[in-house]
Amino acid sequence: MNLIWASILIPVATAAVIAVANARAARSLAALGSLASLGALAVFAWQFPAWSTGAVFPEPCGCAWLSSINATLGVGFDSVSLLLALLEAFLIPICVIGSWSAISDRQREYYGWFMLLHASILLAFAARDVLLFYVGYEFTLVPLLFIIAIWGGPERRQAAHKLFLYTFLGSLFFLGSILFVGWQHHASTGLWSWDMGTLSTFASARLPANTQFWLFAALLAGFAVKVPLFPVHTWLPLAHNQAPTAGSVILAGTLLKLGTYGIFRLALPMAPEGGAALAVLASVLCTVAVVYAALICWVQTDAKKLVAYSSVSHLGICMLGLFALNPVGAQGSVLYMINHGLSTGALFLLIGMAYERYHVKDMDQIGGLAKRMPVWAFFMVFFTMSSIGLPGLNGFVGEYLCLFGTYIATADASTGYPGLLGPGFALVAGTGLILGAMYMLLLVGRYVFGPLREPKADGHGKHDGSHGHDPHGAGHGHDEGHGDLTGREIGLLVPLALVCLFIGVYPKPMLQAIGPVVERTLAPYPAAVERTLKSQPQAAEAAKAEPKEDDRG
């Protein structure tokens, strides 16, 4: 408990210190603070006793926060949220140190905001009280708004606005839903409670199916914006494209995961009837997202935008796994959240490193950088392979379990978890593998390989007016700018690569840690899915009578 709060509050304290400290010391302080936060969390994870039980540790305390409605400061982790929080704490030092050379403007503010962003994301993952979760979830927007709007690319204002308003609108749905559930709980039991477990148990058991349907719909609508799911994704490419490198990394790495985590943690357990009823619709959206975003990636010329759209496609697969409503898919989905954070974060980092040297992201103007930066190219290929799911690297396990889960999510109950999807969904989403290879290799083929194309005017001329690149930096850019990665940069990438490799080669501990939580979350689903299947008699009959044609696919 104390360690959790330590990991959350250390960044806050760091931000406070940075605010009054010397501007030159800001970056070192931020690095120290983020490493200390990681350390605290790592110690907690080391001592964490519930890796294999799926339980929440420590039991969330009843420390009052808003005592009139019994909102508490309850924090605690189960293995899923702990893994995600570890991912966050792991990425933040990388982001901070990765910004050392990129940000030379208003450093104190920058690192201060970053620390606050870190704290709020950790808070969201740690919170066991839904209102506290909301606070963490929502507060992330504030630092991110400033990070993008001040240190972003040329269209940073618009991007920041859109990000803020769009996701804020989404979270209103989410807030409304949890307030509704809390109020229902009060109306029904006379007690206020905002504990996730209590509310989930209450809502899933006591609310009628119809209410659950709308509850799930509202929660899904709220989180879908953050994930982002297909029709509500358009803020993401812009935000990614305009954000400074570290902002993109953390946005892709963990901020989007808040959406998927929200669905996993709140929407699915609270409204199983709704989840079962809406799984097909949501999965259709996911499947569309996979193909749609992948095709869009394929025609992008901006490297960062390409990777941004790939996030939409990848998260489509991730959510599809979740909506398979069986342990295979959900396992894959949770693992995918982590993997996506690692590999896409690394790709953004790499693109940012090249951008620092050339100030160009457009692949029409720049390419073949492998000749100049072989080490960079190595990592680029490595993380590309991780991103397109090469077995042996992290992407594979999550991606394949997601597809696998989707595939076996048929009405057939031999797995103990009847599902509503099936081979059709897996087939369409599986084309994402092909398309994924197409666009990622396009990226590698043009950006990394091929004849060397460099913008004629380096640094100075092509500077596109974004802040955050100091004039001095552009000055020595000519000598140093086109060199290969520096030791610091390699030092950032190597841990990422090692973690990717480890997860790919030995995912068993993570699978075993995630498994019990997933089973717990999905416990009400077999029954709910059965009911949904029965309520669609023609579909169920068709599924049984004509197994050759999977009509829902």
Binding site: L295, G368, A370, L390, F404, L427, F449
Partner: protein, 748 residues
């Protein structure tokens, strides 16, 4: 509190898996075959890091691959009739619910060692070692630049191939499958500054991915039907419930087939292989001729129990194989680039193997894989040696009489020998393996495939023709050559010629150098020992590849060694029962089966002869006919070939033959127009929809609503103070009126 340490320790515990009691102790070391290439890969990475500027990476790789070969040789002696599963460590495995069948998923890093595995690994590691040795000289101009990258990728390839072949479950196979794809990608794109190479690498990877999707879906289906993806458990499950009529079970072979066709370059996914020749020649030899492309054959052979229950799928495999063989042979006849011809011949030969699989002779297919691996590697490596010596020249019109060029005599000799094998000249190894396939085609129970036997014979003739077209043109005749445009292998060599606009294989432009203009300055340099030794060894291997058949022939009744290997594996499960049994009645007793050989062929007469005899004679005839035509057109009267071409081109009726064959039947263009361009169009439209309709239209539109609403009232705020006053006063008035109205209503 100690959960995490416990977790960590389990990570590190790569415990030796439990072995079956009767297994030989050597099997414990099977993992070395995987580990050694992996180690050399990591060491190569370190070399790259340290910027090693010597041939150290090559030495490391050769040593590691040699070690792997030695391991496999030991296994060869130790492996028994029953397969052994060795668990290296747990990979993806967990259970849910009660953990019973269908309540768990297990795909560990297991090795499944049976004779098929060892047989396959034998030539993979053997050829890998030799070709690495060859490459250590071939690539020497890149020392300090791409040298470590090259050998690192080769190591990765061998590791992945090992996973593919030795893996104990389909997910391991998949790992290898994608891993070899990655290695192939890296090696095709080795000259990464050359756009063609990058494009070819990408193409290879993407086309393979289509097949991979099939394989992945098949994997899911297999789990769904049988509840496991581990071979050992799978065979048991199939035995327990052999032929399910569920569509799921029926669909498995079709999806597996898709995977196999992708990796092994069969119709309709063969298009990547010719382009893959952009890679360095040793790579073409190792990956794109001898080993990786046979993974599809391995897959189907390994999964044969799933195919045997589905005659339609088998027939499809046979037809695809036969047609691919024919198509590729016709294209190969009309190409001028030596490597490309060998590439098409590879596709064609792979077609034979699939034909063999389709007609039920896993033995024939595997045997052909075995023989083909040697002679095709030989041909590629000699081509590479020629290319190495002649600055990248590969155009068969610009090379002639190499047998007489000093330094190239041995290479040429070996190349011509290789041509004999490829043409399946009577009593060469390929003759026997091809014979096996064709006999099976003629005698298959499924009569739909008999015609494929005739197609196979035609292809045999075509093969002989195009093989010797190269042989006669390049190695015989008057000495005449012009160097390529690549300063490959020169000491003053600077930059791999990527700065030249085109590939070493592009012929048209090199003519600009003008016939003998270069002759004065250009001295082809012959290969040294590191190229010669592997060539000779491979040639010996190619000869020895026929040894099993010679032995069978000489002492009638002795089982073919290859057949023994194949028969004691899943590849023969059910074959005896299903197939007509021209070879065996029972997988476990090939000896007896061989004896009944003659009886089994009764009733399958080809041209009134016993199938074996007929195919032997017809095959020899086809081969010799092809060689003779080639001899006339390409050695005795070389002008005649051009004249023939002109004649064919002259007539509208025949023009399409030449144009089609030379332009590869426009398959690439067809794919471009039918798949890539529409997809690109759709992608552009979607991109526009996303940016204009979804984002700029709907999202920004909704975002603009409040602003638009505000703009309604904009005239009130013209900046003039009264404008604001009007609103204020109006607002006050309205509020007052409203309050009064409420009050009045309440009062009355």
């Amino acid at each position: 509190m100690i959960a995490a340490p416990a977790m960590l320790s389990s990570v590190l515990a790569l415990a030796e898996g439990p072995l079956d009691a009767h297994a030989a102790p050597e099997l414990r070391w099977a993992g070395l075959a995987l580990l050694l290439p992996l180690i050399s890969g990591v060491l190569c990475l370190l070399c790259g890091w340290m910027k090693v500027r010597s041939k150290l990476p090559a030495a490391l790789t050769i040593a590691a691959l040699g070690g792997a070969f030695a391991t496999i040789l030991r296994l060869q002696g130790a492996v028994g009739e029953t397969p052994v599963v060795i668990n290296l460590f747990d990979w993806i495995s967990w259970t849910w619910g009660d953990g019973s069948r269908f309540h768990g998923f297990t795909a560990n890093v297991d090795l499944y060692i049976d004779r098929l595995t060892v047989f396959w690994m034998l030539f993979v590691t053997g050829l890998g070692t030799l070709i690495a040795l060859y490459a250590s000289e071939y690539m020497e101009s890149d020392v300090g630049k791409g040298y470590t990258r090259f050998f690192g990728a080769v190591s990765i390839f061998l590791f992945a191939m090992g996973c593919l072949v030795m893996g104990g479950n389909l997910v391991m196979l998949y790992l290898g499958w994608e891993g070899v794809g990655l290695a192939s990608y890296l090696l095709i794109g080795y000259y990464f500054t050359k756009p063609e190479a990058v494009a070819a690498a990408k193409k290879a990877f993407i086309v393979n991915r289509i097949g991979d999707l099939g394989l992945a879906l098949a994997l899911f289906l297999i789990w769904q039907c049988y509840g496991t993806v581990e071979y050992a458990a799978l065979w048991k499950a199939i035995e327990a419930a052999p032929a399910s009529s569920e569509w799921t079970a029926q669909a498995i072979p079709w999806l597996l087939m898709l995977g196999a066709f992708g990796k092994s370059a069969q119709l309709p996914l063969y298009v990547w292989l010719p382009d893959a020749m952009e890679g360095p020649t040793p790579v073409s030899a190792l990956i794109h001729a001898a080993t990786m492309v046979t993974a599809g054959v391995y897959l189907i052979a390994r999964m044969f129990p799933l195919f045997i229950v589905n005659p339609d799928a088998l027939a499809a495999v046979a037809w695809v194989g036969g047609l691919t063989a024919l198509l590729a042979a016709t294209i190969g006849m009309a190409q001028y680039d030596m490597k490309r011809i060998w590439a098409y011949s590879t596709i064609s030969q792979l077609g034979y193997m699939f034909l063999g699989l389709g007609v039920g002779t896993t033995f024939g297919a595997s045997y052909h894989v075995f023989t083909h691996a040697f002679f095709k590697a030989l041909l590629f490596l000699t081509a590479g040696a020629v290319m190495h010596g002649f600055a990248g020249q590969l155009d068969i019109r610009k090379l002639s009489g190499l047998l007489k060029v000093p330094g190239f005599r041995l290479v040429s000799l070996l190349a011509v020998l290789g041509c004999f094998w490829l043409a399946a000249f009577p009593f060469t190894a390929a003759f026997f393996s091809k014979d096996e396939i064709l006999v099976s085609a003629f005698t298959a129970k499924d009569e739909r495939v008999h015609v494929l036997g005739w197609i196979g014979l035609v292809v045999a003739a075509l093969t002989a023709y195009y093989t010797f077209r190269v042989g006669f043109r390049v190695f015989f005749g008057p000495v005449k050559y012009e160097p390529g445009d690549e300063h490959h292998g020169h000491d003053d060599h600077q930059d791999h010629g990527h700065d030249h606009g085109h590939a070493h294989g592009s012929h048209g432009a090199s003519a600009a150098h003008g016939g003998h203009g270069h002759h004065g300055e250009f001295h082809p340099h012959g290969p040294r020992w590191a190229i010669r030794v592997p060539l000779v060894l491979i040639a010996v291997g190619a000869m020895l590849a026929g040894w099993p058949s010679y032995r069978t022939m000489l002492n009638h009744g002795e089982p073919n060694w290859v057949k023994t290997q194949v028969a004691q594996s899943s590849a023969y499960q059910g074959v005896a029962a299903e197939s007509h049994g021209s070879h065996d009645d029972h997988a476990a007793a090939p000896t007896a089966a061989e004896g009944e050989h003659a009886h089994a062929d009764h009733g399958h007469l080809v041209l009134g002869m016993d199938a074996h005899t007929a195919v032997g004679r017809l095959g020899s005839l086809a081969c010799i006919a092809g060689i003779l035509v080639s001899l006339y057109l390409h050695l005795i009267n070389r002008g005649a070939a051009d004249a023939l071409r002109r004649t064919l081109m002259g007539s509208i009726a025949t023009r399409w033959i030449v144009v089609g064959a030379e332009r590869k039947w426009l398959v690439d263009e067809f794919y471009d127009w039918v798949i890539r361009l529409p997809l690109r169009l759709v992608a552009n439209i979607l991109s526009a929809i996303d940016e204009l309709l979804l984002d700029a239209g709907i999202v920004n539109g909704i975002g603009a609503l409040p602003a638009a609403f505000g703009r309604l009232f904009r005239p009130l705020y013209g900046g003039v103070v009264q404008g604001y006053a009007v609103t204020m006063a109006g607002g006050v008035a309205l509020v007052a009126a409203w309050v009064i109205w409420i009050w009045l209503r309440g009062a009355n």
